[in-house]
């Protein structure tokens, strides 16, 4: 199945977008969590605070569906 991951900032450098400035197309298996998918593509899951999809925040245990777009949110650096 295919999903689309989006990221900005330093996460974007690690993601290596290929669809547009922020987005990378990922082929993966059904049933995998975001945490597992990140590890598969070489991104330390600890560098992602949460994901954002369809207007909602989800944790890294979230299992995406085919065609879904997921934004990776890095941790805030304080405020």
């Amino acid at each position: 199945m295919v999903i689309f991951l989006k990221a900005g900032s330093e996460l974007r450098d690690r993601l290596k977008p290929d669809i547009d400035f922020y987005t990378r197309r990922i082929e993966t298996e059904q049933g995998k969590t975001i945490k597992e998918i990140l590890a598969d593509i070489g991104i330390n899951p600890g560098l992602v605070a949460f994901i954002y999809t369809s207007g909602k925040v989800k944790g890294l245990h979230y299992i995406p569906s085919n065609g879904q777009t997921i934004t990776l949110q890095p941790p805030v650096s304080g405020g």
């Binding site: 070489g42 890095p74 941790p75 304080g78 405020g79």
Partner: protein
């Protein structure tokens, strides 16, 4: 002036009531970049080294910097500064909202207060009208209540900063509040205002800010606005603000719980961002010129208590007053946030001091008798409410805690210094550094005591190995140059940190505003110059080798994390010493933590070097010399 400055600086002697206007010194702002930099230079030049921070010789400065108000992304900040009563060194604290820009629209870049007023007053500014007005009818008001009343009395279009009873009573970690929920929280600036009997500043203005090249500035900024609207981080930031990171901190074992006893909080689900948005949110709130609107205006609803309105809890308050106090209901955390705001105390130090007191109560170092018949149990909002009231009004044992956890521990003894989680007298932010050694080093070496705003390294620690201290020092030094630049520029750091606006773009904006030809390298060097100046100032006031003040409390290396994903982890004292050695080397300071002649000369600070030499605290020359460039930007490796 066509350089982003309003043009006038006010000097107000509160002892005599004299108000003097001067043309703003553009050269001073050029050399020191405004904001925190100008504050550092004025404090260094004008405050006697033995001045009592709560006495008439301390100077309290309000500085809007160059970029605030100038159609810049989140160009909203005001910087406040004085000798901090918490740390006895240079202190500064920044605040968002709308006050700074309004001060500029009234025609002023900086207000310098000296002396002490004989009676409570507030400063009234309405364009050219600048008056010290009687504040006796507001004295004793909560910060938020005072702002509400002043807006009714003067007009809704005034922007107002206030202090609460805590500032009036000299609680050393008192804050300044504005816009019903923005604070200049750290370093006790509210206590300095209170010591001068300055209850509030109210400003209104309708003048234009003139810049060097508005056409180029508008084109650049409008382009940035359109670009960042598409940024992946924009929507979650707008919706949730900082509160959502509590879960991440917990999952990654940096969330402080029960006074930093552990870093895993089992009830995090009751106080996280989901709960804030679902139970408490009223409206999303923005600072001047910011389209990210990370502020969350909320209400706390608790049976038997009045419904209260506040802005927050942000991440920091959610951690220091939530998990750190064992709270199990987001409404309780919000209520504590509101109490601290209205009483006028910094929520980070307020949470840290309360947590320290709770552990003292747990260990029976303080008793119900000390607490006017109340307990001080983990998770009890009623106990916290009563305790904070005692502290704000310095009643009984509240007076001990009003000095911060370091001074309270000195009074309580019995080894409690170990778990007073502070450095140089200021309490830690909402991150535990035992399994993030770069973060611990950040706390240890911040100029204003334990604070994350100078340097935040947790993702670096995670990428480079959480049990290793290798290479952290140079990265901390670099962050301590780039992050405080935002307090110098008086703009919000989050657009750089979260929405990919580069330092090069910010400096380009600065040049459109001023007509100067500043580079990023120059800005970083200016920031390093400010850093070294405030270090020299600190040593001159405290008269000891700097290293003595750079240690965290011993819990940091004596107590391994007892639970959660970080169980068993922690730094050793040897690692703490090693990090300090590497840090000083990276800074061009000697092993005692004192700046050397070589680095001070390189930065144009020979006058400060001469002063250190006179008191025997100039750093000894380092064999092999100082690094030609201090600090190194982190380059992430592949996973």
């Amino acid at each position: 002036m066509n350089n982003g400055l309003a043009g006038t600086t006010l000097r107000i002697n509160l002892s005599t009531g004299e108000i003097h206007r001067f043309p703003t010194d553009e050269e001073l702002f050029r050399r020191w970049h405004g904001g925190r930099g100008v504050i550092a230079k004025i404090l260094y030049d004008e405050v006697p080294r033995n001045a009592d921070p709560l006495g008439p010789e301390n100077i309290f400065i309000v500085n809007v910097g160059i970029m605030s108000g100038c159609y810049i992304p989140a160009g909203s900040k005001t910087e406040f500064g004085s000798i901090s009563p918490l740390t006895n060194g240079h202190g500064d604290s920044n605040m968002g909202g709308h006050f700074g820009p309004m001060l500029k629209f009234a025609g002023y870049d900086m207000i310098i207060f000296s002396g002490v007023s004989p009676k409570p007053i507030f400063l009234y500014v309405d364009n050219d009208a600048v008056e010290l007005r009687d504040a006796s009818q507001y004295w004793g008001f909560g910060s938020l209540d005072c702002e509400e009343q002043l807006k009714k009395d003067l007009g809704e279009d005034f922007e107002i900063v206030t202090i609460g009873p805590a500032g009036e009573n000299g609680v050393l970690f008192s804050c300044i509040t504005h816009d019903f929920g923005r604070q200049a929280g750290r370093t006790g600036q509210g206590a300095v205002m209170g010591s001068k009997k300055l209850k509030a500043i109210a400003v209104r203005g309708n003048r234009s800010i003139r810049v060097h090249d508005l056409e180029s500035l508008e084109k650049q900024v409008t382009g940035i606005i359109q670009r960042t609207k598409e940024h992946p981080n924009m929507e979650p930031w707008q919706k949730y603000g900082t509160s959502f990171f509590i879960r991440w901190s917990n999952d990654n074992a940096v969330l402080p719980a029960y006074n930093f006893q552990t870093t895993y909080y089992e009830d995090v689900g009751k106080i996280d961002g989901d709960q804030l948005i679902e139970q408490c949110l009223i409206t999303h709130k923005a600072c001047f010129g910011c389209w990210m609107n990370c502020g969350k205006y909320t209400k706390a609803v608790i049976e038997g208590k009045p419904v209260v309105h506040l802005e927050g809890p942000e991440y920091e308050t959610g951690a220091t007053c939530g998990s750190n106090l064992g709270m199990k209901d987001i409404n309780h955390v919000a209520y504590i946030n509101w109490m601290l705001d209205n009483l006028g105390m910094d929520s980070m130090s307020g949470g840290g001091v309360t947590a320290f007191a709770m552990e003292c109560f747990e260990k029976k170092f303080i008793t119900k008798e000390d607490l006017e018949g109340f307990t001080l149990k983990w998770g009890s909002v009623d106990d916290v409410e009563h305790f904070l009231d005692m502290v704000a009004h310095k009643r009984g044992i509240g007076e001990w805690f009003a000095g911060g956890s370091k001074r309270a521990a000195e009074k309580i003894g019995q080894g409690s210094e170990k778990f007073a989680m502070q450095v140089k007298g200021q309490e830690m932010s909402g991150y535990d550094g035992r399994w993030a050694p770069g973060m611990l080093l950040s706390y240890m070496t911040a100029d204003i005591g334990a604070h994350h705003n100078r340097s935040w390294t947790i993702t670096v620690d995670m990428a480079e190995g959480r049990e290793s201290v290798e290479g952290r020092a140079k990265i901390v030094v670099y962050l301590q140059h780039i992050r405080p630049l935002f307090d110098t520029w008086c703009i919000c750091r989050l657009f750089w940190g979260e929405l990919d606006i580069s330092p090069e773009e910010i400096v380009e904006s600065l040049n459109h505003i001023t007509g100067w030809e500043v580079t990023v390298d120059e800005s970083l060097r200016t920031s390093e110059m400010i850093w070294n100046l405030t270090r020299c100032h600190y040593l001159e006031r405290n008269r000891e080798n700097g290293r003595l003040f750079d240690y965290p409390p011993s819990r940091s290396w004596e107590d391994k994390i007892p639970s959660g994903p970080g169980k068993g982890k922690g730094v050793t004292l040897e690692q703490v010493e090693k990090m300090l050695d590497e840090y000083y080397e990276a800074r061009g300071w000697d092993k005692n933590g004192n700046p050397t002649r070589e680095v001070l000369t390189d930065l144009g600070l020979d006058f400060a070097g001469d002063n250190l030499e006179k008191i025997g605290l100039l750093g000894k020359p380092t064999p092999g010399g100082i690094p030609p460039v201090r600090g190194e930007k982190y380059k992430p490796k592949a996973f």
